[in-house]
Subunit: 322 residues, 2 copies
């Protein structure tokens, strides 16, 4: 009986794999460092090894797998299962889907990591049973995913859900994407670090100054949280401002999408927790029309690192039923 | 045979009605001034009279109608068919659906006017056959509507599509909704007029100064177009800036929604035509990721005043097939 699914989450720092049973429960997990500076074939080897280890831990044989679902950063060609490109890995037009299918001898789907994470929260996390979901993940950048009428929504372009790249402050700070004033350029960890660095250069004092000696240094969620909790005024202001601006972006999206639930995740949300989410929520509700605010739930993601593998596995299962 | 549908569009200045045959062709039209300062019962009388006139012009009997679709500004309670409120009319918790159904003895649906307009363009206009559509109507305010997977999308809140109230310039000019920097506060006719009035107060010269003697004066699309064409520098700058900002908002929405087509309508778009649309388009494509820009068509609405009645009628027909 092939009723198990292998889910794999290829991230910038780690590769996660999990085997799910027919009921969607995780039977076993495996993980490894991505070491993304290596060439694409080496990283691909790691992906396959981690997958095999999860299968072994689950105590099943490969032929008990019905399908494989794999998620990865960057734009995906959904027709072919190719990764078009990735920011932090060397994959470029890499046939991730076909190659993985070949390795395991099983049908394989490839999904964007943020979409898979939102789908995981829909199927097994905080958004279970919801019809319309907006997922926003705040970390180094800001990613997002949409569930519409109970299904993952990629739009006609297949590139929908890029909520980090709505312009919230026209003419504002430059974003990694080249535009000015994107949500990502205002409320991500990269944006928070930039604001703190600038203020320090202008002479403000902060306990994190010693962590920002190189131009490329990026404050971690943990660094930021420690400084925030110790009462570092500069860090507190920068983080609270980011929460307010994230809320402005999310409030705008409530007016456009009218979701049932907003799921907030990512490193910054995980580091800061409920107080940060509360600030985002107040700012978002302040922007949204009453009709788009009164019933929506704004809440933290609950699956953490499992969201991607679960979502990818669930999408693989559904593609079989498709 | 009851195969005809009556569509009615209750607008702030006029009431339009049309009878559509089974193939969705308009057989006859009727119209009247809304005179929205009158009380709700009087305006309701006008709606019913205009409907009856359209039926008469079509040469059919009321019992040849299968259903009635009516669209109106302002939030609608879709469960009950009540208008919750309207900005320029005296309807407040008015049972527009039930009362209209009673008058014609036919099932009646009520829809938001902008949603109906976008749906009209989907069914009989420029967006025919599209799967995912973003409609943006730029006039006194900015309204919008979404088609997702071929169906009108209201979201879980029923209030989705409020694209005029995404924040494009945090901390920017005050919007009628109370927020700052909404798209409507940057790119509507109201926003253009405000910018021109401010510049005149600061001493700039413009041919439209004589039209702005009272604080409540609002420049019409026609006034703006005439001044623009005559080379009025102040008007040209204000209108071009509005187009650029509209494009920034629409570019953001391309990244979130990944639509197949963007339909631009409303008084300002109708007055200014293709040059204005071209400016919006360039600005939007400049913001959107390549994946969300390369295939999307950005174009003018083509049904004009008929969009609302056709959309409302089509929605009424579909509610019968339910």
């Amino acid at each position: 009986m092939s009723s198990h699914i292998l889910g794999i989450d290829l991230g910038g720092t780690k590769v996660l794999a999990a085997v799910l049973d027919a009921e969607g429960r995780i039977l076993a997990r495996a993980r490894a460092k991505t070491r993304g500076w290596r060439d694409d074939e080496e990283v691909f080897r790691t992906i396959i090894q981690v997958g095999h280890r999860a299968i072994e831990h689950a105590g099943i044989a490969v032929d008990q797998l019905a399908a494989v679902g794999i998620c990865a950063p960057g734009p995906i060609d959904f027709d072919t299962g190719y990764i078009i490109e990735t920011a932090n890995l060397k994959f470029k037009n890499f046939p991730l889907g076909p190659r993985t299918a070949e390795e395991f001898g099983r049908p394989t789907i490839v999904e964007n990591d943020v979409n898979a994470g939102v789908y995981g929260e829909l199927k097994a996390g905080v958004a279970q049973g919801a019809r319309d979901v907006l997922g926003v993940f705040i970390g180094t950048g800001i990613g997002g995913g949409l569930i519409v009428n109970g299904a993952l929504y990629r739009g006609s372009s297949t590139g929908a859900g890029e909520v980090g790249h709505i312009i919230v402050e026209a003419g504002g700070p430059r974003c990694g994407c080249g535009n000015r004033g994107c949500l990502e350029a205002l409320a991500s960890r990269t944006a928070i670090t930039r604001d703190i660095r600038k203020a320090i250069k202008r002479g403000k004092r902060s306990s994190v100054a010693k962590l920002l000696t190189k131009e490329t240094d990026l404050l971690s969620g943990k660094d930021l949280k420690a400084a925030y909790d110790s009462g570092d005024e500069l860090v507190r202001n920068a983080v609270n401002r980011a929460a307010r601006l994230a809320g402005i972006g999310i409030g705008s999206l409530l007016n456009v999408l009218g979701p049932e639930i907003v799921v907030l995740g990512g490193g910054v949300v995980e580091a800061f927790g409920d107080d940060f989410v509360g600030r985002i929520e107040r700012s978002a509700r302040d922007i949204a029309f009453e009709i788009n605010s009164k019933k929506v739930k704004i809440t933290r993601a609950e699956l953490g690192d499992d969201a991607g593998v679960i979502g990818a596995a669930m999408l693989a299962r559904e593609s079989l039923e498709g």
